[in-house]
């Protein structure tokens, strides 16, 4: 019961809400040294990007506690995107590899709890890759639109 439970069996009310133009709210944790700069570059080069993402800057993806991600989901974020330096390029050597290990466990935990693991995503994007960052965000928004609102989201 993962993807199916999320999309097909939620109440008709939620479905109506989705039809009325559902705009996902996505929290993105970005590493300061790469993806945050990449996001900035995407902005300054005036690349088109969906406006659904709230970016939270962290010093390194290795500083992202898995509880931040779960907390964001429990508070109703429709998706969480983590963006860090490419493996081998972490400013602190291996923070991103620690994040990668945490991420697989987190993903498998979320899935076991009956929550669609596609709501959490990990990507790599360097400071020069504004386009990679933008593509990641766009793909994430598309994925979440398909999944619909987070079932834990309070009515707004």
């Amino acid at each position: 019961m993962t993807a199916m439970a999320d999309t097909s069996s939620s109440s008709t009310k939620a479905k109506k809400k989705r039809k009325k133009g559902f705009e996902p709210r996505i929290v993105s944790f970005c590493c300061n040294w790469c993806s945050y700069a990449g996001a900035d570059l995407a902005g300054t080069s005036r690349m088109q990007m969906p406006p659904n993402v709230r970016i939270i800057r962290v010093n390194c993806t290795g500083r992202i506690d898995p509880s931040f991600v779960l907390d964001a989901l429990a508070q109703g974020a429709d998706g969480v995107l983590i963006s860090g330096c490419h493996p081998g390029d972490c400013h602190y050597t291996s923070g991103n590899l620690k994040m990668r290990g945490r991420f697989v466990l987190l993903e498998s935990l979320v899935e076991q709890a009956g929550f669609d693991p596609r709501r959490v995503h990990l990507q790599w994007a360097s400071a020069a890759e504004g386009d990679v960052f933008r593509d990641g965000v766009t793909a994430m928004v598309e994925r979440i639109k398909e999944l619909g609102p987070n079932p834990a989201r309070e009515e707004d």
């Binding site: 509880s67 429990a74 697989v104 987190l106 076991q112 709890a113 079932p151 834990a152």
Partner: protein
């Protein structure tokens, strides 16, 4: 003046009571100062005896177990009404307990599994008459009513309960410590480079060295240190039964965070090493996790 004390059991294994009775003769030190007004595990009291007491007339109300049925919830609310000080006693009461793991499935599925499909069932039927009815989800008791004190543990050690009773009798404060089981553990620790995790029956444990360093999932690092590290001391990895220290919001998230830092394994190997993350990381406190609260909201939306 003697203190009026009550012990109530909700859905539980009664192990917390067992642990209290294990005080043996030390019970005699405190018993003269206590007047027992309700303790069905030991004395023949009925619910109506508790209901007949005046409100706020119990000085110390201990609640063991969590709410799986409507009757549990009624008993909990009655205890709250009758008690001046309410104590969540044991991990069931503080976090929901082992039965909180049931939150992974809707209650209908659990009932069918138990009463219709279990291998031991010969006359499959769901009992209906004189039943209190189940609650859809297990929550920590402090999410139902207000508590003045929490004492986790599955069960709390005899000493833990003794210390709490003593503190309550003398008016001394009793605060949960931030220390972990590792802080109380006698094993030698080294820099951690874990390349493989073992099940407890695999390999041979070096009794002098930290179990986690040897690749056994010992959760002492993420677990509040109240038990005196009793499991690792006898070479059994800590399962985290006391829950996390007070500053940690989600036990499993804390465990995952640490494993990501110490495991030198590929993502695939790491994933494979933990096929049941909920069961491994939230032995007694899944009902207190972020994910369980999401599930609760999700089911509520479905019902509407």
């Amino acid at each position: 003046m003697t203190k009026r004390v009550a012990f109530a059991q909700l859905t539980s294994c009664w192990g917390c009571d067992q642990s209290l009775v294990d005080l043996h003769f030390r019970l005699l030190d405190v018993l003269p100062e206590l007047e027992i007004v309700y303790w069905p595990a030991v004395v023949d009291y009925k619910l109506k005896d508790l209901e007949a007491l005046p409100d706020d007339s119990i000085h110390l109300g201990f609640v063991e177990g969590s709410c799986r049925t409507n009757e549990d919830l009624h008993l909990l609310k009655t205890m709250r009404k009758k008690s001046k000080l309410l104590i969540a006693w044991g991990s069931c009461s503080c976090y929901g307990g082992v039965q909180g793991l049931g939150n992974q499935w809707p209650i209908e599925e659990l009932v069918e599994r138990k009463f219709l499909q279990a291998d031991s069932v010969t006359d499959p039927r769901i009992p209906e008459s004189n039943m209190p009815g189940f609650l859809g989800i297990v929550k920590p008791n402090p999410a139902h009513v207000k508590f003045e004190m929490v004492l986790p543990g599955c069960p709390p050690t005899s000493d833990n309960t003794y210390d709490v009773v003593e503190a309550l009798l003398t008016g001394k404060p009793f605060d949960l410590p931030e220390r972990t089981v590792c802080d109380e553990c006698p094993k030698e620790r080294e820099d951690k480079h874990i390349v493989k995790f073992y099940r407890t029956h695999e390999g041979k444990i070096d009794p002098n060295k930290c179990l986690l360093d040897q690749g056994y999932l010992c959760l002492g690092f993420a677990t509040i240190g109240l038990c005196g590290a009793q499991c690792p001391t006898v070479n059994t990895p800590c399962k985290g039964c006391f829950g996390p220290p007070p500053s940690v919001k989600d036990h499993g998230a804390k465990i995952i965070s640490a494993l990501g830092a110490v495991a030198e394994m590929s993502p695939e190997e790491l994933k494979e090493a933990f096929p049941d993350p909920i069961g491994s990381f939230y032995f007694t406190d899944y009902a207190a996790s972020y994910l369980s609260s999401i599930t609760a909201k999700k089911r509520k939306e479905k019902e509407e």
